[in-house]
Amino acid sequence: MDSLWLLLGGLSVALDPMILLYALIGVTLGTAVGVLPGIGPALTVALLLPATYGLDPAGSLIMFAGIYYGGMYGGSTTSILLNTPGESASIVTAIEGNKMAKAGRGGPALATAAIGSFVAGLIATLLLAFLAPFVAKLALTLGPRDYFALMVLAFITVSAAFGDSTLRGLTSLFVGLALACVGIDQLTGAARLDFGVPQLLDGIEVTTLAVAMFAIGEALFVAGAATGPALLNATGSVRMTAADWARSWKAWLRGTAIGFPIGSMPAGGADIASFLSYATEKKMSRHPEEFGHGAIEGVAGPESANNAAAAGTLVPLLTLGLPTTATAAIMLAGFQQFGLQPGPLLFITNAELVWGLIASLLIANVMLVVLNLPLVGLWVRLLLIPRYWLYGGILVFATLGTIGISPSAVELGMLILFGVLGYGMRLYGYPIAPVVVGLILGPMAEQQLRRALAISQGDWTTLVATPISAGLLSIAALFLVVPLLLRLRGRGKVLTQLGGDSD
């Protein structure tokens, strides 16, 4: 098949020593930030964006993807040993994983998480390789109105469909859309919301917003809260028993089967996939009584699901230019920084880069399982760094990126302002990701909308005139209304309900 040859071609790019080095840096950093609570892959990629300005585009993007994959691996370690998820996609892992660790079975829990991540990452990356060219071909037939509908769907799924409040999700999204209006209008050149400040004409930098909201908002929030939990040292041997293997492998495959589609349809990110996988495992398990007391399936499934979803997220990102998670949104900013526009044309104009990236992910997966299984003890040591050094360092690097973009008081002032905004949003339970996605997708959605309307000479019915656009908008409407109704009937049931539908 075509994809196979292209993938083999990609491997020759990926095996270049410099590219291997970038991938290794990426997965190492990714594992580290996954392990450390408070910094996730989105923030790390945002921090590194300005630093990679002068580096090789292919290498940098491979590094970013490595960080994304690595974050998914590393997150499980903290969930299991500390009961504090390193990032949001590992929240459910903590439920069973920490119980296992408390029962002295932390080692097998870590092992099933790492091997499950490997299996899922491998299968999902291969699926990505075979699926992406088809989606890219399909995407070539899409017009502005279809793209607009697709973006509306992404807006809704990121903000309203999951999470605990439609109102708060939509509010976050609209804050992001409002910020997206700042700067020069891309179609007419009219200056909007610049308040006479020249730096604002370029719009608000995605990296500044993301770093402020994730790093500074989080640092303020954690500092203000009470102190964190103690580390569990009960790792023990990472060897899994025959029974562990027997119970894990099906969960890995099921997690992959759930995670990849969730990630690749603009239907939310890895956290949702891991929740759905947990619900499925609980339902399918032959040992339902163990759930809540350390069932290994409850670790194996969600950890595979979140890795598969991370790979799945790359499908809409690479083929449509559509980010469905905060990390993907920032990776999109990374592509744009190098003058590359992800989308169907990327597969033609930069085929070598795309296939090199996909092939690197396969290699990164192998690196990650080596980094995470034998070396897990090393990563746990990272948690012994006193928090005051850790957060001091995070803030210095957070400001460094912004200063690197422009060492002006305006840029730093915005960083602080958005940081305080992010803190306030955390206090009152507003999600952060929709703001970032709104900021980066807002202008793209606006352009597509106005192009579609220009083609139809101002006729708004054009937006639902193709089956694709009408279908996508209906799905978006469903995603908006159904969770709203479900929440009215009783919150918390939502995810279980969806979990029941998915198998």
Partner: protein, 159 residues
């Protein structure tokens, strides 16, 4: 920063007020842009208007949610650590172009460490200088990111 659940409707009102203010700014700015819709009939001022109407609707919904008690109470927060971090950020903002990246960032580092319970300011400053120096060396010199240098940077890395 209220801890008491009693303050909740107020929080909702403040959030709603903020959203409405944002909408007002968008509308005010849009009113100053000439309507230039072209063939689309939708010009540069229209999408901000659309967003503003959305914000206004959300603002109303937030008030309703607040009155019904649907806004969750924030977890208890201590003010002092938060203020320490803000002090550090403020110091860095003001001093950055005066004393250079390393000293300004070391101050931020020390203040943040203080917020997280490091009582030894001198140690925090020293560690901050070392870290910021290493960061300056790597990012400004090796990766050619442009970080503002002050006397200390010139002394160590040369002009």
């Amino acid at each position: 920063m209220s801890k008491a659940t009693r303050g909740r409707p107020w929080a909702a009102l403040i959030i709603a007020g903020g959203l409405a203010a944002m909408a007002a700014v968008l509308l005010w700015d849009a009113s100053g842009i000439t309507r230039d819709g072209g063939y689309a009939g939708v010009g540069p001022a229209d999408v901000p208007r659309l967003v503003a109407f959305g914000l206004l609707a959300l603002s109303v919904a937030t008030v309703v949610a607040g009155l019904r008690g649907d806004i969750p109470a924030p977890p208890p927060q201590r003010a002092a650590p938060v203020l320490w971090i803000l002090l550090g950020l403020g110091l860095q903002l003001v001093l950055l172009n005066l004393v250079g990246f390393v000293i300004a960032s070391a101050l931020l580092f020390a203040c943040t460490a203080r917020a997280y319970g490091n009582r030894n300011m001198a140690l925090g400053l020293g560690a901050g200088v070392l870290l910021a120096m290493a960061a300056y060396g790597v990012f400004d010199r090796l990766l050619s990111l442009n970080l503002p240098g002050g006397p200390l940077e010139h002394l160590i890395f040369g002009g």
